[in-house]
Amino acid sequence: MNHPGDTGLRRRAGDAPPAIADLIHEATVQEITEQAWLALVGEDELLVPLPAPLPADTLSSWVEIVGPWTGSVVLTCGRATAVELTTALLRDHAPDVLEDEDVDDALGELANVVGGNVKAVLPGPSVLGLPEVGATPPAGSEADTCRVAVLWRGQPLTVSVQSHAERENEVPL
């Protein structure tokens, strides 16, 4: 069933697919992420742009952006890093015992803040989805991904702006 405003006509991605590399640069993603870190995680919390392998046990949070460009902004780090990030983010407001829900929530909010500011750089109008968290991030197109790899307190994390792997970028005419 079509959406009420959906004419069924589509401008196919094949006609003029907006490649993420043409829309946003790694340096911009890095800058947005750094701003989020400084404001939310702490003024002294630096992100060092050095790629390093992620541990086996990772946690990802992501927000979807739907518009002229459709895809996800995904934050991935080790589970232990996510716990440390949550503690840093909450500072004095952290509960005595961190629950998984606290960690998911904090990592989701970081993805939300980074994603919202990435969305502002991309062509609009776009809609930002609610944050999601999981061990397996949404599948993205490796060929159409802008990825930033950094170290935070010596621990690796990545921020990826990735087009959907199996969904064409398409908008109703």
Binding site: L90, V113, G116, K119, A120
Partner: protein, 129 residues
């Protein structure tokens, strides 16, 4: 004089951060996880001077909440401040046109919140001095 704020955000972490910031300025606070929950607090009769409002939330989003508050003359005195990662110019214009007084883009610092509150005349005297 006690200043009251209702902090509306679906993120527990963000609610804790905003609440902690406002309480540091001397505010009495309550929290809500989405717009409908916030309306329930207002219907209870708890009258805040300020609502900080996230945009993207389940059940009822921030813009719907602003519209609902502005549609009720009994809540005319409440100051509405969006605190959101929605930073597109068009979204800011929509929120202000709907009746929000101020707009803070995440990520923010405590100083940014303090400056906005000072502009709104909602910073307790002892903090502003």
């Amino acid at each position: 004089m006690t200043v009251r704020a209702l902090v509306i955000d679906d993120s527990r972490a963000m609610r804790r951060i905003v609440t902690g910031t406002l309480e540091g300025f001397g505010y009495e606070t309550r929290q809500a996880g989405h717009g409908q929950e916030a309306l329930d607090v207002l219907h209870e009769g708890w009258a805040p001077d300020l609502c900080t409002i996230d945009w993207n939330m389940p059940v009822m989003d921030g813009l719907q909440f602003v519209n609902a508050v502005r549609a009720n003359p009994a809540w005319r005195a409440v100051t509405l401040m969006m605190v959101t990662s929605e930073s597109e110019h068009g979204q800011i214009v929509r929120a202000l046109a709907a009746g929000a007084h101020e707009y803070v883009i995440k990520p923010f610092t405590a100083d940014a919140i303090r400056d906005k509150l000072a502009l709104l005349g909602l910073l307790p005297q002892e903090v502003s001095l």
